[in-house]
């Protein structure tokens, strides 16, 4: 009973996040392929969107912080030395993040299928 409650609580938390903002979804897709630091994410987003998503550092870290607080991603233990003796902070996707991204992907796939059924595409 308790486990069932927990499961339904997690599902509710995930559903509350849907639909994901496109940029959040894309970031989850990127992190699903491997850990990455802030600048890497910014660059990858730009490349994957053919230059349409150019996030500044402020917007990037607002989004990252929100995703961390929503438990979709978390800082990883990977350490890479950077300039001036500082270290880059890497992020990785959490289980909750993977499930949320999968749910969003399914939602979008359903939408695409509906569009195909209606011979829109």
């Amino acid at each position: 009973m308790n486990r069932k409650n927990q499961r339904s609580g997690a599902a509710a938390k995930m559903n509350a996040l849907l639909p994901l903002r496109p940029v959040v979804f894309e970031m989850l897709l990127i992190l699903n392929e491997g850990e990455m630091h802030g600048y890497g994410l910014m660059k990858e987003l730009k490349e994957r969107s053919a230059g349409r998503w150019i996030l500044g550092p402020g917007t990037l870290y607002r989004t990252i912080n929100k995703m961390v607080s929503d438990e979709m991603i978390e800082p990883s233990d990977t350490v890479e030395p950077q300039t001036a003796g500082k270290q880059r902070l890497y992020y990785r996707i959490t289980n909750h993040g993977m499930k949320t991204a999968a749910a969003e992907a399914s939602r979008m796939a359903n939408l695409v299928r509906t569009a195909m059924d209606g011979q829109l595409i």
């Binding site: 402020g58 917007t59 300039t83 001036a84 500082k86 902070l89």
Partner: protein, 941 residues
């Protein structure tokens, strides 16, 4: 087409979805090796750090470091790609901060992004904040929607604000920024004797200083100082060092702390100068002694004398004025280290400047009253009627004597920069007006849906302020770059100045306020204009426009731009003509092929006899060089940075009324000087071998003195008195030489007296050599000869005579360059403004043009109509601008040489240039108007 409405296009999304749902792979992370930090990176990071202070504290603490790193990497990549990318990065960064810091602040105050969740007393507040945030977000979106408009407008404002910010940065460094190490500068004051017209400042003797030190109840303490030039030997090379002789309380009054050892104490200030001690400046310790940690207690050689280092001043402190980085500080009374004089004489021969600290709560007036009372009791001013008493001034970063001219010069540059800002802002106001006019349908729709006029105005103002703030950001970037250029200006002489013009928080604040103020002022008129359209007309019309009053406003904008540009160009033109005129001003000597090297023998502690031997031998050695045509020496060179004056009396003219004491420029020169400088002797003779110490003292005067004092007669053989009327030194005039310019090119003819360097004690002389080669080579020859006589004596100033004279023209060259640069920029902006207005007007009048041509108007009629419109605006602007220039340029007369402030050629030239540019700017849209197809134009309507 449907895919365009989806966040991602299908070809990219579908394969990725499949991959995602089926497998989870870990790819190696991409290579994003960090770029190396550079100085420029550090400056930009500093600016970015300021930007991100806009975020709330918790966000800042969590993410600032990472954001900085991301920005730094983006900047490095942008640098590799060129300047346009850097510009784009700064613009997008500005937007990024604007759009993300606002909501974060909102969240930090109200705990969430949704205002509906708020209840109770916070509701009104949150509602206001929410609509403000909406305004900001909407402004950001609208600006991002038209990137071309945004970039052009931001760059235009950036140029204007950048110019103003750069000038402010320089002013900030010279006059406003508190000097490092100086504590509570508001309590400090300086004391001088001033002449009645406040045109000259005079220093104090030692006994007066000691008396003033007992300044009574209002003065906490008073310190005295005087500067000296020294030579220290470091790495085997003698190097010039500028220092201060100070009373031991000097550091205490300023609040300076030691970085090493201690500063001066009363026991150091011994007349015997034994033990002789020195405190080193932090910069000197680092640069000349490699920051030697065991410097305290070490003995160094200063001017050939051994001194024990007792301490080093704190880092950052480099003296109490911006214009003077001091390398060493020695006690006041140990100054006989630098001069072989008896103590009693040397005390009174000191020319002491003072700096004091008021007691808390005391006013400058109280200090002044106390000081003047002491001075009156001393009876100091009794015999010096020209002096008005003691003048107490608030301590400032530059010496009182220099603060007036510097403030005036910076004021001029500010006015020029302000004009360019005005022209740029008007351009953007014009762009905003056109853009807002084009949006009048959207605005009318919003009003029809219930938006109040105030709300619309606020929205439009938010857009213009955001735009101007972006321009401000650009301006700061430009000023970082421009001030860097200023710091790299090299002068032919080593001066004790080192400037850090880079913008600080004061400059940021200034720029922010300036951007805000200009954003509101120049955004208000367009906002007011378009927020009141005729709803029915605007909603029913496909075409847009703010009507004829909008055209009038646009016309007024162009007129003000042309007027501002005319004023700028006239200023620039006058400065350029003046510089051109400077080359043709008759200076009274020939500086071509002349080299100079100036030696101060006090730097190696020469005795008077050694001085004479050194300079005689140096002149002989230089004269023996085959390429040297003639050689001479002078204690003061004309049109250089130094000058000296003396009082002269005319005993044989006392029967003539009003002939009393006169002031004359004075220099001690050698026999070869007049020939080397090609100054012709017009009457009498040159100094000769018989004019030596112990014989009859002789002088040579210039023709100005001869003509004024003995009109129509020869002054040769007459006697005059040097010094006070009571005990003058009797000297005989043996010759008259041609007039010259001595202090500045613009000066009126003044009295000049030359004494023979063989008859007066000199310690510092500039050797001038005329060669068959150029001046710089001649200077090198002199330095070579001096080195062979005394390798340890450093050269105080060297270069070609042209370079030395050029120093006097530096302010004019800076003013001319800036005025020319800003003038050209103003011309460009004004022509773009004119072009924009006429293009817009042509676009609006397409139907009218079509009707005119359909009714039989020739194409040339239509073209002339448009060109006439443009020229009408230009002529109106020109009339206003030239009238302003007539009024303003007269205040520049002291900076102009050989050209009148009303120079007709300049005024006519500028009128011609502006008219021509305006014609071209009008002709292009006019030509487009003639290409209108009448039928098409009518059909479109």
């Amino acid at each position: 087409m449907v895919w365009d409405r989806l966040p991602c296009r299908p070809p990219s999304i579908l394969p990725r979805l499949e991959t995602f749902v089926s497998v989870t792979r870990i790819y190696p992370t991409m290579d994003t090796s960090a770029p190396k930090a550079t100085g420029e990176n550090l400056k930009s990071k500093g600016l970015y750090r300021l930007f991100i202070r806009a975020y709330p504290d918790d966000f800042h603490k969590k993410s600032a470091e990472h954001m900085e790193a991301v920005f730094s990497e983006s900047l490095s990549r942008a640098r590799d790609s060129g300047r346009l990318h850097i510009l784009w990065l700064w613009l997008t960064t500005f937007f990024d901060v604007l759009l993300s810091a606002g909501p974060e602040r909102w969240n930090s105050i109200f705990g969430g992004p949704n205002p509906q969740r708020q209840t109770g007393k916070n509701k009104t507040m949150t509602g206001k904040l929410d609509s403000f945030l909406q305004d900001i977000t909407y402004a950001g979106r609208m600006l991002a929607k038209s990137p071309t408009f945004t970039v052009i407008a931001a760059v235009t404002i950036g140029l204007g604000i950048g110019a103003t910010t750069t000038i402010f940065s320089v002013t900030n460094t010279l006059l406003l920024r508190p000097l490092p190490g100086v504590v509570k500068p508001g309590e400090l004051f300086t004391a001088h004797r001033v002449s009645e017209d406040e045109s000259s400042f005079h220093s104090f003797g030692y006994s007066t200083f000691k008396a003033l030190q007992e300044g009574g109840a209002t003065v906490a303490d008073l310190a005295a100082y005087t500067s000296f030039g020294g030579s220290v030997t470091s790495d085997g090379e003698p190097q010039v060092l500028f220092g201060l002789m100070v009373s031991p309380n000097y550091f205490n009054i300023l609040g300076v702390q030691p970085a090493e050892g201690r500063l001066l104490i009363p026991d150091d200030d011994l007349p015997t100068g034994d033990p002789a001690v020195v405190v080193l400046g932090f910069g000197t310790w680092k640069a000349k002694f490699a920051g030697d940690p065991s410097i305290v207690g070490r003995t160094i050689t200063l001017n050939g004398r051994s001194l024990t280092v007792v301490g080093v001043t704190e880092e950052g402190f480099s003296g109490h004025t911006t214009l003077g980085e001091m390398g060493a500080y020695v006690p006041l009374l140990s100054q006989m280290i630098f001069r072989d004089e008896t103590v009693t004489e040397s005390r009174e021969s000191l020319s002491l400047e003072t700096v004091g600290r008021k007691k808390p709560g005391a006013t400058l007036e109280q200090v002044s009253a106390a000081m003047n009372q002491i001075s009156d009791e001393l009876g100091e001013s009794g015999g010096r009627r020209s002096l008005a008493g003691i003048d107490i001034r608030q301590f400032s970063n530059v010496l009182a004597l220099a603060s007036g001219p510097i403030s005036a010069f910076m004021g001029l540059l500010f006015a020029v920069a302000g004009l360019i800002l005005m022209i740029a802002s008007v351009n953007v106001a014009n762009m905003l007006l056109s853009r807002a006019s084009a949006r009048s349908r959207e605005i009318a729709l919003r009003q029809a849906l219930g938006a109040g006029r105030l709300r619309i105005i606020r929205q439009l103002l938010t857009e213009s302020v955001a735009l101007f703030l972006m321009g401000g950001t650009m301006g700061i970037v430009i000023s970082f770059w421009a001030t860097g250029l200023f710091e790299k200006i090299s002068l032919p002489v080593e001066l004790p100045f080192s400037f850090d013009f880079s913008p600080d928080y004061r400059v940021m604040l200034f720029t922010g306020l300036l951007a805000l103020a200009t954003g509101v002022v120049f955004g208000l008129a367009p906002a007011l204009k378009v927020s009141n359209p005729n709803l029915a007309v605007a909603l029913n019309s496909d075409t847009s426009g703010a009507g004829s009053s909008g055209s009038k406003l646009r016309g007024a904008f162009v007129v003000s731009q042309v007027a501002g540009t005319a004023l700028l160009l006239v200023t620039a033109g006058l400065f350029l003509r003046s510089l051109e005129g400077a080359g043709s001003v008759e200076v009274g000597f020939d500086s071509r092929n002349v080299g100079v090297a100036d030696y101060d023998t006090r730097l190696n502690n020469y005795t008077p006899s050694q001085v004479r031997v050194f300079f005689d031998e140096l002149e002989r050695s230089v004269a023996a060089i085959p390429s040297v045509v003639s050689v001479g020496a002078a204690s003061i060179l004309p049109l250089s940075t130094s000058n000296s004056q003396a009082t002269i009396s005319f005993p044989d003219l006392e029967q003539i009324p009003d002939v009393g004491l006169k002031r004359t420029e004075i220099a001690a020169v050698s026999r070869g000087y007049f020939e080397a400088m090609r100054i012709p002797v017009l009457d009498g003779r040159n100094f000769g071998p018989a004019d030596v110490e112990g014989g009859q003292d002789v002088i040579i005067i210039n023709e100005e003195m001869a003509n004024q004092m003995w009109p129509g007669e020869s002054p040769v053989g007459r006697h005059v008195g040097f010094g006070s009327r009571e005990s003058p030194l009797d000297v005989e005039i043996v010759g008259v030489v041609r007039n010259g310019k001595y202090r500045s090119l613009g000066e009126e003819p003044r009295f000049m007296t030359y004494r023979s360097s063989a008859q007066v004690p000199v310690t510092q002389m500039a050797i001038v050599a005329r060669t068959t080669g150029d001046g710089a080579e001649a200077a090198a020859l002199i330095r070579g000869a001096a080195k062979s006589i005394d390798p340890d004596l450093p050269v105080a100033m060297t270069g070609s005579m042209k370079e030395i004279n050029g120093i006097a023209l530096i302010p004019n060259k800076i003013a001319a360059t800036i005025a020319m640069l800003f003038g050209s920029l103003g011309l460009l902006l004004a022509s773009v403004g004119l072009y924009g207005v006429l293009s817009y007007s042509v676009g609006q009048r397409t139907r009218e043009m079509g009707v005119r041509m359909a009714l039989g108007a020739e194409r040339s009629d239509v073209r002339n109509l448009v060109v006439r419109g443009g020229l009408k605006l230009t002529v109106t602007g020109l009339v206003v601008g030239l009238a302003l220039a007539f009024g303003v340029t007269r205040f520049m007369s002291s900076l102009l040489y050989g050209v009148s402030p009303m120079d007709p050629l300049t005024f006519a030239g500028i009128t011609l240039i502006l008219t021509l540019v305006a014609f071209v700017a009008s002709y292009v849209p006019a030509k487009r108007a003639t290409e209108t197809d009448p039928m098409q134009a009518l059909r479109n309507e």
